[in-house]
Symmetry: C2
Subunit: 129 residues, 2 copies
């Protein structure tokens, strides 16, 4: 490991972590979110290289299930998890600056997501990594 220890530490980019409240109708609409993310990824010039989308079943008491999305990008990833029974969602985007500075794109993607969900922001954290 001696050669590695002598090289400078690489700093990939910005990771935004956030949570917001939103209405059940959005928090259970996997298809709508999927179309929204696809549109955003294209608009921001990001490149998707794979994704997993999963809808949770309805609860025993009849409450609708939420969904989970993880999207792999050449620039790193994007994720969203919803808990409609709590009116709650968490959002992450981590964009590396490998070919250009993507920090503002990460912030824009969060702002657009909050607007799409007509959400009420609960918390917002930026981690430089």
């Amino acid at each position: 490991m001696s050669l590695l220890a002598e090289s400078p530490v690489y700093s990939p980019g910005l990771h935004v972590l956030a949570a917001f409240r939103a209405a059940e109708s959005r928090l259970t609409d996997l298809a709508g979110c999927r179309a929204f993310f696809a549109q955003q990824i294209a608009a921001l010039g990001l490149v998707e290289v794979g994704a997993a989308w999963h809808a949770f079943p309805a609860q025993p008491d009849g409450l609708p299930g939420g969904f989970t999305a993880v999207v792999a990008l050449t620039e790193s990833h994007l994720s969203l998890h919803t808990w409609p029974e709590f009116g709650h969602a968490t959002f992450d985007v981590f964009l590396s600056n490998y070919q250009r500075d993507n920090a503002d794109r990460a912030r824009q993607l969060y702002a657009a997501t909050l607007a799409y969900f007509e959400g009420e922001a609960l918390n917002y954290t930026e981690v430089r990594r």
Copy 2:
């Protein structure tokens, strides 16, 4: 949104974000990491519901490409991105406590990943969300 505003804020669980250095041989071994994650997910009693794995092509100068993994879990997600040209990797695990407290499992998964990669820890952040 008035009903939502009156309910308590849901706190899903712990998100661990970390970075480490490792040797090129591990940082380019997508198949090895995939098998390792599958074994860890089973050992920790987590449930995978989808994943995206992507290997980047070799660089023009012949340097090997890294890989990206995002794994959707019923408990939220796991991700890993490697930059072998910098001897660098970032790791995330976010485990919700929906059915049990998973905070220690998140920490265990990071410790096991660092050991698997024979990595040198660079930074480690816990975000309660």
